[in-house]
């Protein structure tokens, strides 16, 4: 049993939850995730560890509640418990001092991006964060990201906040100016967004890391359900990833496999 200490809505359907999980908090590195099962009979789903406090023994999750499992998790109030949390799983983000790094996040992907960006900043990188969403109320973690980013750029599809359009427009401007061209790009968001970013950086040979979100079940490398195609090879996102070289990922396979249970309960949001 894992006690929920805080649970607050940040944006429509997006919750931040702080949970007591001392061992995970102590072992966790940026880029890793946990498998959460709210209760008996519930699904196991992967969620990125947004932040952790080893001293307090807590982890922070950012959850977009659209489907049945995520809704069930965010319905657990502070004072309640989640039955099973296993982790930290996956490989940690490859942290280096690349120099200038662009961190690009879309939708709930921004929550997945947050710990990566924080760790990259701590390693001495100059960070430009670009976050996007449908409208201003979907822009999350802008202040938290501003704490360590050299600049934060915002795009919304309806123009209600920041530049109107997609994150790729901001990234294009960054790449076009030799004074701001990033040495590395980290992109997390819907599959079409990550694919678009990878296509943008490919001609310039800019290192591009994406965090993939295939459907998972065990998260420990046992079932093969999370397989993704990277460089034409099948890799397991839960043990080999979830971060991969954006130029080597077959995004079509990922996008397609994410629709496997679409009929089940609402559309997927990251994809």
């Amino acid at each position: 049993m894992f006690p929920v200490l805080h649970n607050e809505p940040l944006a429509p359907q997006l919750h931040r939850m702080v949970i007591r999980a001392p061992r995970i908090a102590a072992a966790r590195k940026a880029g890793q995730f946990v498998m959460v099962r709210a209760d008996q009979g519930e699904e196991r789903i992967p969620l990125t560890i947004g932040d952790a406090d080893a001293e307090q023994g807590t982890i922070t999750l950012y959850i977009q509640a659209n489907g049945s499992s995520t809704r069930r998790i965010v319905a657990t109030p502070a004072g309640g418990t989640l039955r099973d949390i296993a982790g930290p799983l996956g490989m940690a983000t490859e942290i280096e001092n690349w120099g200038r790094v662009a961190c690009v996040g879309g939708g709930v992907g921004t929550a997945v991006l947050y710990p990566m960006a924080k760790a990259l900043a701590a390693a001495g990188n100059n960070i430009t964060t670009v976050i996007g969403g449908r409208s201003d109320q979907y822009i999350i973690l802008a202040e938290e990201l501003a704490d360590f980013s050299d600049q934060v750029k915002i795009t919304t599809e309806d123009g209600s906040l920041g530049r109107q359009g997609f994150v790729t427009a901001e990234l294009e401007s960054l790449i076009a100016d030799p004074g701001t061209t990033p040495q590395a790009v980290f992109a997390v968001g819907p599959v079409p967004m990550m694919r678009a970013v990878a296509e943008q950086t490919r001609p310039h040979g800019i290192k591009t890391v994406v965090s993939l979100n295939p459907i998972m079940i065990d998260g420990t490398g046992m079932c093969g359900g999370c397989r993704v195609e990277v460089n034409g090879e099948p890799l397991f996102a839960c043990v080999d990833g979830p971060e991969f070289d954006g130029h080597a990922v077959n995004f079509s396979v990922l996008a397609d496999r994410l629709t496997m249970y679409e009929r089940h309960d609402g559309p997927c949001r990251l994809a």
Binding site: G41, E43, T220, C223, G224, V239, M260
Partner: protein, 470 residues
């Protein structure tokens, strides 16, 4: 009330049949297929045993179960003695009686197999074990005084459970760390309810925890806690994290929707209850026409599960012949009775799909058996012009697994073989002092009884290691 039959009389008793649920009915439910013998049938079967002095059957059992002893006690109607004799060498007989490949182990060596049918050792083992389970006559071997030593076990499958049970009996404090949210390993997430009811795993696990074994789920060694941490905090460590990573087909179309690795499908159904319990929220694709690629136990479990979830057409596609199938004979038998079709000497070439990415067919290649390969099995060779398509909507890959690198990748000093399995000596000792290993992580995909044999041997080795250390 000793039954004093002559050998001639014993030889005249025909091998009894295991009563089973009606195939038509059972192919629509998840209840256990085999119903178990009643006392009369069990004693009659037990009387077929000749109580051979040379005990060839025992040599066929990887853990050396006292077969003639438990069977003669059963024939005499002395069930407490039978149970004791059985449990002496096998801590989880209710499981082995159900899932051991008896036909290639104990029963293969039975003298009665020479001319006719072997004694149904597995069925008798199950009978005695179930009798004991109901009464909880766990052998009350006197516990030795507490040693004050602590042992950590990684993995709660048959190897981990066995090593833990033995070690608490030897007076050590034992904690099992399990990556998943539940116990049992493959026994729970792999082998379906209709072959091994989860109730039996629960009873066995409860018995171990009563004896003092501590089990912590949701702890992944190599991730939540490192092997180094365990070595620091415990006096010895046993690694029993099983096989992992399914092997991929490596054919076009493998990523289409409706292609499952067997482990994923079985986990969804067995561990998460998908398709089985109405309240379970884990989704699953129920095929109407399914093909399972492979010929082992995993393949049989998959195809029979799909059948129970409503497949009208359920096929086994295997590249060799039926006699080469590694699955237990009983499972092949049961599968056939349940209407599973066997497409033998057939290799998959590609999975075909529609424009939306869903499976529509499996492209196959007819094979014939050529010369024997290194393993002594005849190598399947493609038949010219033997290409054709099987119309299906779900394809399962049951090719087997590779070693799971999750733990070993974080322990660079631990010596592995070239397949990534942990190297250990006959006692289970690895290249790291105080670290022992057994089960599938050492052997590759093997059997429940071998995993348990390893656990038993490992416990003895850990015990002497700990006592030496004193």
């Amino acid at each position: 009330m000793t039954t004093s039959l002559s050998n001639k009389e014993r030889l005249e008793i025909p091998r009894g049949k295991m009563p089973a649920q009606d195939p038509e009915k059972r192919s629509r439910n998840f209840r256990e297929v085999n119903l178990g013998l009643d006392l009369h049938a069990a004693r009659l079967e037990a009387q077929r045993c000749l109580d051979c002095r040379t005990r060839p059957c025992v040599d066929g059992c990887p853990v050396g179960v006292a077969i003639p002893e438990f069977i003669t006690a059963l024939a005499d109607g002395n069930l407490p003695t039978a149970a004791k004799a059985l449990q002496q060498h096998n801590a989880l007989p209710a499981i082995c009686g159900r899932v051991c490949p008896q036909e290639s182990q104990c029963e293969a060596r039975c003298v009665r197999a020479v001319k006719g049918k072997p004694v149904a050792i597995g069925h008798l083992e199950r009978f005695v074990a179930d009798w004991a389970l109901q009464r909880d006559v766990s052998d009350n071997a006197p516990r030795v005084p507490e040693s004050g030593k602590k042992v950590a076990v990684a993995g709660c499958g048959p190897a981990g459970l066995t090593v833990a049970g033995e070690l608490v009996r030897l007076g050590h404090e034992v904690t099992i760390f399990e990556a998943l949210h539940d116990t049992g390993g493959v026994l729970r997430y792999g082998i379906p309810e209709f072959r091994l009811p989860k109730r039996i795993i629960d009873i066995e696990v409860a018995r171990l925890t009563r004896q003092g074994v501590q089990i912590e789920c949701n702890v992944i060694i190599g991730k939540t806690l490192s092997l180094e941490q365990l070595r620091r905090d415990y006096d010895a460590v046993y690694i029993a994290n099983g096989a992992g990573l399914p092997m991929m087909l490596g054919i076009p179309g493998e990523n289409l929707k409706g292609v499952y690795a067997a482990n994923e499908y079985l986990t969804r159904v067995n561990l998460m209850g998908a398709g089985q319990n109405i309240e379970a929220t884990t989704p699953i694709i129920k095929g109407k026409k399914v093909a399972v690629i492979g010929g082992g136990n995993t393949a049989m479990d998959c195809v029979r599960t799909a059948r129970r979830l409503g497949a009208d057409k359920a096929l086994i596609v295997y590249r060799r012949g039926e006699t080469e199938m590694p699955a237990r004979i009983e499972e092949v038998h049961h599968a056939k009775e349940e209407g599973i079709e066997f497409v033998l000497l057939t290799s998959p070439l590609a999975v075909l799909g529609d424009e939306k990415g869903w499976v529509t067919a499996l492209r196959c290649q007819k094979m014939e058996l050529g010369d024997a390969d290194e393993s002594g099995r005849r190598r399947p060779m493609p038949v010219e012009g033997g290409e054709y398509d099987l119309e299906v909507d779900v394809v399962f890959n049951a090719l087997g697994t590779r070693a799971n690198p999750l733990l070993t990748a974080t322990a660079p000093d631990l010596k592995l073989n070239r397949w990534g399995n942990i190297e250990s000596d006959e006692n289970g000792a690895t290249s790291l002092p105080g670290v022992f290993a057994g089960g599938d992580i050492v052997r590759g995909g093997a059997t429940v009884i071998l995993a348990k044999g390893d656990g038993k041997q490992g416990a003895a080795a850990i015990d002497s290691y700990l006592r030496q250390k004193e």
